[in-house]
């Protein structure tokens, strides 16, 4: 396990919205299934005193933490207030914030991640599906029925593409240790390098699937930082330059961050690169 286990107690910020309440239910169903603590409190300013799926709601993170011993937050707060909510979580002393919210202005994300860092609070995301350690912990919105416990770590900038790869792995009989969606925005908290460092310390993880896409060079930076066996896949080989491919971070700018040169650099570092998702299980089996 990395980032948490069965004993991780969770709060949800943005608890009373459609997304928040829906996923509190799913996260707690999963927690019951695996015998975990799950979501113990929700936070929505002005909605303190209510209940969502049997979970008490508070006005602030501080008030929630006065009643509950949580260490992590999963955040569904609307984009315009999400940066502020990340800072609130860090200020109240949480160790980990999973920011699911999409479309957060990048200046807000940059400030919030920096502010959280001052108190040692790690941010995963924004614009991410969260993480799932099969049999232990689900923080976020990943569809748990596709997952099975095992020894392969998965790190990805994407959501559904991650589910696609996890599905392929599970069908091939290859289980996962922890699957982390680090988010599709230009500025994200935990990067490939950060998650890989955790996997290195994790005895359960024997090999890693790294799913990247066009834009930036965090994939190369991550691979350079670790000795773990890796199979990589990079989406966006056919992406045209200067066009945002859905994710705010998926853009080839100033001739940089295109998939082909990324793949070339990864191969130079002796990383196996799959040319399509369905090749990944076969390649990772070779490394186990």
């Amino acid at each position: 396990m990395i980032y948490g286990d069965k004993n991780t107690a969770v709060i949800v910020q943005g608890a009373t919205g459609k997304q928040g309440s829906f996923h509190i239910r799913l996260m707690n169903e999963y927690a019951r299934e695996v015998g975990g603590k799950g979501v113990v409190a929700g936070v929505t300013p002005g909605k303190g005193g209510q209940e969502v799926c049997g979970v008490p709601v508070y006005n602030t993170v501080k008030e929630a933490l006065a009643e509950h011993d949580a260490t992590a937050s999963v955040l569904f707060v609307p984009a315009r207030a999400a940066g502020d909510s990340i800072m609130e979580a860090a200020h109240a002393g949480l160790d980990l914030v999973i920011a699911i919210t999409e479309h957060i202005p990048v200046h807000d994300a940059m400030k919030a991640v920096a502010y959280a860092g001052l108190s040692g609070c790690k941010v995963i995301g924004p614009n991410c599906p969260g993480l799932l350690s099969p049999g232990e912990l689900k923080l976020g919105i990943m569809p748990s029925h596709l997952y099975t416990r095992g020894h392969v770590g998965v790190i990805s900038r994407s959501g559904t593409l991650t589910y696609e790869v996890v599905d392929e792995l599970t069908k091939a009989g290859i289980g996962q240790s922890t699957v982390v969606g680090i988010g599709g925005d230009p500025v994200i908290g935990q990067t490939f390098a950060d998650v890989l460092a955790r996997f290195e310390e994790d005895p359960q993880t024997k090999a890693v699937v790294l799913i990247g896409e066009v834009g930036g060079n965090l994939e190369e930076e991550g691979v350079r930082s670790t000795d773990l066996p890796i199979v990589s896949y990079i989406a966006g080989v056919t992406a045209p330059p200067n066009k945002r491919m859905g994710h705010a971070g998926a853009i080839i700018e100033g001739g940089e961050g295109d998939a082909r040169s990324k793949i070339k650099r990864l191969k130079k570092m002796d990383v196996a690169v799959a040319s399509r998702p369905s090749e990944i299980p076969g390649m990772i089996r070779g490394l186990l």
Partner: protein, 361 residues
């Protein structure tokens, strides 16, 4: 969204950055009445979003005698195919030295990064390739409201103090306007002080609302239409229409099409909650492109309801064949509905993409 030079200069001016005196005109507007304010020698600049505008003939020197003709010439000469609707006529500065400065966001350090070069005016990408040491670079905490002066001194070396002040003001613009890029190229020194001779500003699309910008001009009509429905949409030039959920999965579908020898017509990410209405609309939008011969719908998700998606596809009732790859809840019902109407629903991404490529082969 990219701002045009005159828009960026207006925002620079508000923050105390000196810009040349200028006059913005559309065609048939009176120019000569205002020439007194600008002096005899002027620069006439097409206001178009085109890289390498100067080299492409979009920036011309003129004087009071031929300024009207020069402006008229620009109105009738598209720059790299982009028609010129507005022209900025500016006083010509007595330039002593040109610098390059830009502020952007560094993904690696998650901080603002300032690039500075002693030689401005040329394309920075070229300098970066040919003489990378000529570009200096600093990053600093985004929690600071000013660029620390020691960093500015490190960055600008012997440049006059006014250059440092201007860069700090540019950082204020960068923050206040939610910029992804704020660039002055060239930043010039003159006997009258330091000026931003050119200006470039790209605003974060996720901050357009709070910046009071209602319409993203960088999008095509179809892209705007798609955005209204919450889709991410990019037009390409192949014959296979693509609809997916999630940016990564949709990009991957495009790549797979190429892998099997086909060419995608578009990228369309329907986003979360692919329900009947949204799917119907997405299918119709993609089918509306004349080049599209076949459409592949690739949706995967824990909470996507396959029966709803199937109804959306059927209701769209487009002429082209729609090949479906669906995984989610109520999968069996979705499959049954689609089969009844003669749609092919395939089990894997590879199979579905192969089938679509075969249709166009």
């Amino acid at each position: 969204m990219k701002l045009l030079e005159f828009e960026a200069k207006e925002l620079f001016r508000e923050e105390g950055i000196r810009v040349p005196k200028g006059l913005l005109v559309s065609e048939h507007e009176e120019i000569l009445l205002h020439m007194d304010e600008l002096g005899d020698k002027v620069v006439v600049k097409a206001q178009v979003d085109v890289g390498g505008r100067g080299k492409a003939g979009g920036v011309l020197m003129a004087d009071a005698g031929n300024v009207v003709e020069t402006a008229r010439h620009l109105f009738h000469t598209p720059i790299k195919g982009v028609p010129v609707a507005r022209v900025l006529i500016e006083e010509r500065l007595a330039i002593e030295h040109e610098y390059y400065v830009s502020i952007a966001i560094d993904r690696s350090s998650k901080q603002p990064v300032i690039l500075f070069a002693d030689a401005g005016g040329v394309e920075i990408e070229q300098t970066a390739k040919e003489n990378p040491d000529a570009i200096r670079k600093v990053t600093f905490s985004p929690l600071l409201s000013d660029v620390p002066d020691f960093l500015l001194r490190e960055l600008t070396g012997d440049a006059p103090k006014g250059v440092r002040e201007t860069i700090n003001r540019l950082y204020h613009v960068f923050c206040k306007k939610d910029a992804l890029l704020a660039e002055i190229n060239p930043l010039v020194t003159t006997p009258q002080g330091v000026y931003a001779a050119d200006a470039k500003l790209i605003i974060d699309d996720n901050a357009l609302v709070r910046q009071g910008i209602a319409v993203n001009r960088d999008l095509t009509e179809r892209e705007k239409e798609a955005e209204k429905h919450g889709f991410s949409y990019v037009e390409l030039d192949g014959a296979i229409g693509v609809i997916g959920n999630g940016a990564g999965l949709t990009m991957s579908t495009l790549d797979l099409i190429e892998h099997f020898g086909g060419k995608a017509a578009n990228f369309l990410d329907v986003g979360g909650g692919a329900d009947q209405e949204r799917v119907k609309y997405a299918v119709r939008l993609v089918a509306g492109m004349p080049a599209v011969k076949v459409i592949i719908v690739n949706l995967l998700g824990g909470i996507t309801r396959c029966d709803e998606v199937a109804r959306g596809i059927i209701e769209a009732g487009v002429e082209q064949e729609v090949i479906v790859r669906l995984a989610g809840t109520n999968e069996a019902e979705g499959r049954k509905l689609l089969a009844e109407k003669g749609y092919r629903m395939l089990g894997s991404m590879d199979e579905a993409v192969r089938a679509a490529v075969e249709v166009t082969a």
